[in-house]
Structure formats: C-alpha cells, structure tokens
C-alpha cells in the first residue's frame, strides 16, 4: 500500500476501466495460477492419491528434511545452479550478439534468409538434437576427426566420459538450439529504435561500433533487463530432458539436475510429496532471486519487473 498517496476518488473514477479489467484479469489469475497452489499442502503430507489432499497424513517438514539431509540433493542443486547460470550467460550473450549482427547485415534478403534458418532448430526435439550431438562427438564423429586431423589430439576424446566436458556440452547444445529463436525478441525490440538516432550518430561521426554501443544497445536495454530478470528467476529450471538424454553413469555426479532427482526419487517411486517439496524450494529460491535483483535494478534506475 505504498501507493496510498495517489489513491483518491478522481483516480478511481478516471481509471474505472483499467480497474475493471485489472480486477477481471486478477480473478482469472487467482483461479488458474493461485488456486492450484493448495497442492503445496502435499509437501507437508504423506500424500497418496487414494486419500487425496484432504485426508492424507500430515508430516510437517519431514519431506524437506529428507531432501536437505541427502548429499545427493545438495550436489544436484549445485549442478542445476551451475548449468542454469552457464546456460543463462551463454545463451543470453549469443542471442543478443546474433540479433545485433543480423541487424547490421546490409543485404535485406540475406537477413531474412539467415533469420528464417536460425530459428528452425527450436522446433527439433531434444532427443533429435542430442542424437546428432552424440554422433558428432563420438569417437569417429566430426569433432574428433577434425581434432585428430589438426593434430590437437592423438587419441579420440570420449567426451561423454569426462565430467569436465558435460556442462560445456549442455551449454553449447542450448546455444545451438535456441539462439535464433531467442533473438526474435531482440530483433523486435530493435525495430522500436528511432532511426533518427542512427542518423544523428552518423552525423556526429560515429562508426559502426559506436552506433551499436550508443544506439542499438541502449535501445534494447529495457528488453535485455526484463528478460535477464525473468531468467534469473529460472536458473533452477536448468532443464531435465537434455541432461537426462546426455547423461550417463560416469558423469552423473555433474549431470543430474533437481528435476531428474525429483523424477528418480519422487514420481517414479510414487512419491508426489517429495516432488512438490522440491518444487516449493525452487519457487522460493526463484522469488528471492527476482526480488533481490529487481531491487538492484530499481536502485540503478533500470527497467524492472515490478
């Protein structure tokens, strides 16, 4: 209620229509997004579908204790965070870079063709992408063949047998699949930049780099900030499928994410409660992260979420 100062009858009258729609949409949000959160009760129960939410046995924080006393879970958090942060940084950087460079392309036709091609891998499922990746990185795959050809290595590297390669491979796969798609949003943002700013910069004698730095980047900065803030909240959702498909026993120390852990120890064991507990943990961390970074953004006068 920090807004109370501006809260007066004139405003209400004036904003009647806004208030009406805001109320309608909020009711929608409560029904479809907040009502299912009763399900969080499961985390404090020994939930059985048979007894349902209302009659399952309450066990308090038992499931949380179980999670946090398990060393595996702690390691899984580390993996998820690490991959989340690496992926976020790399895919973010690549999408912005790609959008800017694409925008700098002189040929309009080329621009369209490149962009059309760039987003296509988004439509391939992870199972296809990881299949191709496995091929490319196998002992006789293109990467090993190239490395051997240039004499960098004498023996083929078994990329999937070493823990140190796993995170970079996952990051690369994400970039490969999503760069073009992620760039769409920046390309849309670039369209909102006033061309006269470029002209003015040219007149001031700015070169290409100066224009990118002083016009393009500031122009898409609000979009970058908003996406960054949103995605910071998602670092714990580093994924499931790709790690599941690329992982194996030898690298499971670094490959397992929270979602894989939950599937292994929760759902596939018929234990919904532990999955819900992990979900609540992720939600809490996400919300803390965005509140924190939102505060920082506010302090620096940047675009923010709320």
């Amino acid at each position: 209620m920090t807004q109370k100062k501006s809260f007066n009858m004139v405003d209400i009258k004036h904003q009647k229509i806004l208030l009406f729609w805001a109320a309608a949409i909020t009711i929608y949000g409560i029904v479809f997004y907040y009502a299912p959160l009763v399900g969080w009760l499961m985390a404090f129960q020994n939930y059985k579908p048979v007894t349902g939410l209302l009659h399952s046995e309450f066990i308090g924080l038992g499931k949380f204790k179980l999670l946090f006393s398990d060393v595996t879970f702690l390691r899984v958090i580390r993996n998820t965070l690490a991959m989340g942060v690496i992926n976020l940084a790399v895919t973010f950087f690549m999408a912005i870079l790609f959008a800017i460079l694409l925008n700098e392309m002189a040929s309009k036709g080329g621009k369209k063709v490149v962009q059309t091609i760039s987003y296509l891998p988004h439509f391939l499922s992870w199972i296809i992408v990881t299949g191709i990746l496995h091929d490319a990185l196998s002992g006789t795959g293109i990467i090993n063949t190239l490395l051997m050809h240039f004499g960098t290595i004498s023996q083929p590297i078994n990329f999937f047998a070493h823990e140190k390669y796993f995170w970079p491979i996952v990051a690369f796969a994400n970039v490969w699949k999503e760069t073009g798609w992620n760039a769409i949003i920046y390309l849309a943002a670039i369209t909102s930049i006033d061309p006269s700013l470029y002209e003015a910069a040219s007149i001031d004698g700015a070169g290409r780099w100066a224009k990118i730095k002083n016009v393009t980047l500031p122009g898409i900065k609000p979009t970058i900030m908003i996406l960054l803030l949103m995605n910071v909240g998602n670092v714990l959702n580093a994924g499931f499928e790709i790690q599941y498909l690329l992982g194996n026993g030898l690298v499971q120390n670094v490959s397992q994410t929270i979602d894989i852990y939950v599937l292994k120890w929760g759902i596939s064991q018929g234990d919904y409660s532990i999955g819900t507990a992990a979900g609540i943990f992720k939600s809490v961390v996400s919300i803390i992260l965005i509140v924190f970074f939102n505060h920082i953004a506010k302090k620096h006068g940047e675009e923010r979420l709320f």
């Binding site: 579908p49 002992g139 999937f160 194996n248 064991q269």
Partner: protein, 562 residues
C-alpha cells in the same frame, strides 16, 4: 459508448469460453452403439500402438462377440503419474492395466473384485489354476486383476530365447569350427583370437569385439550377469539359494568380482568397446546393426526387433553377423539357467475392471470370448487366407508377402488387432498342432532363419535358440523375485537401499571396469556400496521369499487342480 461495447464483448467472450464445454463425463460402461455393438474403453499404463477406429480385425471380433474396446496407451508420462491423475479425477475407463500403479488403483477402491464372477466364465476360470488365482489375491482377499502374459496352453512352444544371454556372431563360431564354449574365459578367448585374425569387416571397417549397453535402465547388460554365471535363473534383483532358501546378493559374490575383473582385463586389452559406458541405446543399436560387434550380453527382445532386422535388411545375415546365445557359466560343467521353461506369473499387475464400468458382466464376457480359440487365432494369426494359410496337414503358415505385410506399421494399424494387453496364451493351440501365436510356430521360425544360423544350429545339434542354451525346469514357487523388488518404494528402508544401490552401481560399475588398478577400484566400489545398506534390501526380500514359499506350501499334496 464504444469502449463499453468493446469491453463488454471481450468480457463476455472471456467468460463464455471459460464456462463453455462443460463436457460429458469420461465414457464408460459398455454403451451400445448404433450397430448394436457394446463399446468399452481401456487404458494401459504402458506405451503401445493405437489401432485405427475402423480396424478390420477389431470389426470382425466385434461382430462375433458383440463387443469392441477402444484402447488408449501411456504417452509422455510415467505410469504412476497417469494413474495418479486417474485416481484424482475419479473417472476411469472400463478396463485398466495400471502397471506399477496397480496397487494404488486397488487401494483407491477403483477396481472391481473379480472372484465372484470368475466361475461364470469358463475360459477365464481355466486361465489359471486355483493356486495361481490365489496368488493374485490382495490384502483383502479378493482378486482384482488378471495377468495377461506368459500363460502357456498345452505344450510350451519357444523357439527364440527371449531373455538374457551372452550372444556371439555366427561368423565367429564358424571361423573357430564351432567349438564348445562354456565359460567367460573361453568366450573372451574366442573373441580375442577371432579379432586378431579378422580385425576388420569385409568393407574394411574395424570390428568392435565386445560392447556393453549401459544406457539408463538398460544397464542390466552390465550389471546382472553374475546371477546367471553362478547358474541361477533371472530372479532379477537377487539370487535365491534353493537349498537354504536364503536370499543372496549377487553384487558381492566372488563370481561378481571375477566377472568384473575379466571385463576390466578385456577393457585394458581393448576388447571391450571404450564407448560402452557413454553410448546411448540408439548408438548401441547402430553398432550392432552395422555387423561390427562380435559379442555382447543383452536380452533378445532388446536388440532383435531393431538390430537383427537391420542386419537382415543390409544383407549382413548371410555373412554370419546375426547372434546366437551361448550357455556360459563362471566355471566349467555348471548347470546354466539362462533359459527356464514355464511361464512367469507376474502377479504385480494385470488387466482390471474399474468401478466406472457399468457392465462388468459384459466386460468379463468379452475377456472370456477373447480366449476362445477362433478369436485367439484372429488376434495372433489374423484372418485366414489373408494373414496366414492353412496347409494340408492343418498347419498354419505365412507366405513371405504375408510376413512382410505383418511388419508394416500402417497395415498393423488398419488391419491387425491383437488386444495385446488382454489375457492371451502362448504354447500350443487347442487343436493340438499349431502354436497359439505365430512366433511359436516352428516352421515359421525356421523359414525365417538365415543360412549361417541354420549351419550353426546344426553344428551344435540344436534346432532353436533355446536349444543352444538348454532348458531348465521352472524355478521354485517364489520365482521371479523381481516382481517384488520392482514394486518397492523409498517408503521402506529396503526400498531406499534398493534405489541407492542402483544409483551407485550406475556410477561405479563403469569405473570399476575402466579402472587402472582393479583391486583398488573394486574396493572403492564395495565401500560405497556397503554404505547403501544393502542388508536392508536383502532382509525385505528374504521376508517376501518366505511369504511366497509359505503361500505355495498350502497347495502341496495334490491340491493342484486345473
């Protein structure tokens, strides 16, 4: 004014669509359609192929029995999730096979007790013995589901060894003059010497002497060989010592250590494929399909329908690149139990009828009808003269065109309807000659074999894959123990230990095989393995074993009636 209209319209659209389509409830209960056919619904918590609505054999069966079942299968979910939402929703299809969620369905009171009905349906009654029916009773003393598989009618007809074995390419055996191979050492010696003489295929690609599939749950190809090497059957998660009636952990036996030590040696020699532990199932199948892999451990069904088919289609079968199983044990002269006769009664799940079904009798009548010989033939052989022919001697056979047609996905969807998750028989048909299912028909089997395999069988005096290994009597009444371990959850200490053991084995067994210093690697593995408290698991398995044996003892002394 205009803005009000706009917002009113939008708002109305929003609300109306919000409440539109309060649909009908999930279809249930043998409603009669316009052709006078009762329609049931079924959900199977396993992946499977859906057949077309206008499927021909389904239509024929519907005309004969007056019933039709619309089947749906698991897609993109685990069985537990699917069953969980079913229970939460409280509406069920008429038939259900809940897989590992069966007990949940029972506990939710979603299933109809079948024991009062069974006597009325002769085919269903005949399907199991009293003892078997009793084994299906749940804690409240009632029977809720009927396991569908591995029920043998008449004489057993097994041509392929469907289960696990050490496999080797026919060309390797031919090169060595079909020697007798009984132990792991002999097996690897043979592979080594063959590979030394013939390091490449005809086209120059290098052979892969031995590979191990290790992808996810398929790591049984690495993990469970010790139970077989010691001459025990596939109890899956443990060994049962039939003399002392004690559960033995096969992960820690001296045989297990010897087996992994051998793999370690072979790994260092370059015989074991260095990509073994990182390859995916697809890559493994690709390697097998290329004909480069000389040998491996696997279950037949895990590679036969993919790699063996690819080998055939590439013409590599004539070069002896198909696989035959070998009866290998850890020492010479031991009895092996890679193949056991008799069906496996998996009591943990089966076909059930739900409380949403409004015509339980009609549903059971349909199950009964499906076991009639003529309907069973339609399910597993097809339509006479379209899918099979009958010889003068009354034997069913297929022409090569028919065989090809049977493998066509589109044909299967539009024509074939086996109601594959309803009760069914294997073994010999009621006519006493034919096999219940086409894959048990010996002549059919032989016609499909390639020359090198026939030659190999001849050399060993065998006629089928099964005879390559020899058959053992069905193990005791407890068998198989995996039907219990697969239902364990982390809610018990034993289940937790079982899950942890799996994790540790996934991680450490590859390391052990790849380790520079085997002893050190093995000791490290044993150290972390012990931390999982395998004794908790073993003791729960022991309790179950005793329960099963006790249960079976009630029927001893001639009470076995059929």
């Amino acid at each position: 004014m205009k803005k009000k209209i706009v917002s009113a319209v939008l708002c109305a659209a929003m609300l109306s669509s919000m409440f539109a389509g309060c649909g009908k409830t999930a279809g249930s209960g043998g409603a009669v359609n316009k052709d006078g056919i009762k329609e049931f619904t079924a959900f199977f918590a396993v992946p499977g192929s859906e057949i077309n609505d206008d499927n021909e054999i389904q239509q024929i069966i519907a005309e004969k029995t007056g019933c039709k079942v619309k089947e749906t299968w698991l897609t993109g979910q685990t069985a537990e999730e699917a069953v969980g939402t079913l229970i939460a929703g409280g509406e069920y299809p008429d038939f259900v096979e809940a897989g590992s969620g069966s007990v949940q369905m029972y506990e939710a009171g979603a299933l109809v007790a079948l024991d009062d009905y069974i006597d009325k349906y002769p085919n269903i009654k005949e399907y199991f013995t009293e003892q078997e029916w009793d084994a299906l009773r749940q804690s409240d003393g009632h029977i809720y589901w009927i396991p569908q598989f591995s029920n043998i009618y008449g004489e057993e007809r097994a041509c392929t060894h469907n289960d696990e074995a050490f496999w080797i390419q026919a060309r390797v055996l031919e090169w060595a003059g079909y020697p007798k191979i009984e132990t792991m050492d002999e097996y690897f010696d043979l592979i080594e010497s063959y590979n030394k003489e013939n390091p490449t295929m005809d086209d120059g690609t290098e052979n892969i002497p031995y590979t191990i599939l290790c992808d996810d749950w398929r790591y049984f190809c690495l993990e469970n060989a010790p139970e077989f090497l010691d001459g025990y059957p596939n109890d899956g998660s443990v060994i049962v010592d039939p003399d002392t009636m004690k559960i033995v952990d096969y992960n820690t036996t001296p045989t297990a250590k010897k087996y992994f030590q051998k793999l370690n040696e072979e790994y260092k020699k370059g015989i074991v494929d260095p990509e073994s532990f990182t390859q995916t199932y697809d890559e493994y199948i690709a390697k097998l399909s290329s004909g480069r892999v000389l040998g491996m451990i696997d279950q037949w069904w895990d590679f036969a329908y993919t790699a063996e088919d690819a080998i055939k289609s590439a013409g590599l079968d004539e070069k002896g690149c198909q696989y035959v199983p070998l009866p290998i044990t850890i020492e010479k002269g031991m009895k092996n139990q890679w193949h056991n006769s008799g069906g496996v009664l998996n009591v943990s799940s089966g076909l059930a009828i739900t409380t949403s079904c409004q015509d339980v009798e009609g549903a059971l009548q349909f199950v009964n009808d499906l076991l009639d010989q003529d309907i069973h033939d339609l399910r597993f052989w097809g339509v006479k003269d379209v899918d099979y022919k009958v010889g003068d001697d009354g034997m069913y056979y297929r022409t090569p065109e028919m065989r090809k047609q049977q493998a066509d996905t589109a044909y299967k969807a539009s024509h074939v309807c086996s109601y594959s998750y309803f009760p069914q028989y294997s073994g010999t048909s009621r006519d006493g000659k034919n096999a219940m299912k086409s894959d048990g028909q010996e002549q059919e089997f032989f016609d499909g074999l390639s020359e090198p395999i026939k030659k190999c069988f001849e050399a060993y005096g065998a006629q089928t894959y099964v005879e390559m290994l020899g058959t053992s009597e069905a193990p005791g009444p407890w068998y198989p123990m995996y039907t219990y371990s697969s239902t364990m959850t982390t809610s018990t200490p034993g289940g937790t230990a079982w899950a942890k053991m799996g994790e540790i084995k996934h991680q450490y067994l590859p390391k052990v095989v790849m380790s520079e210093d085997f002893e050190k690697g093995w000791n490290e593995y044993m150290g972390v393995y012990e931390e999982c408290k395998p004794e908790d698991f073993i003791s729960e398995m022991q309790t179950e074993l005793e329960r099963r044996v006790e249960e079976a003892a009630k029927y001893e002394g001639g009470s076995k009636k059929k």
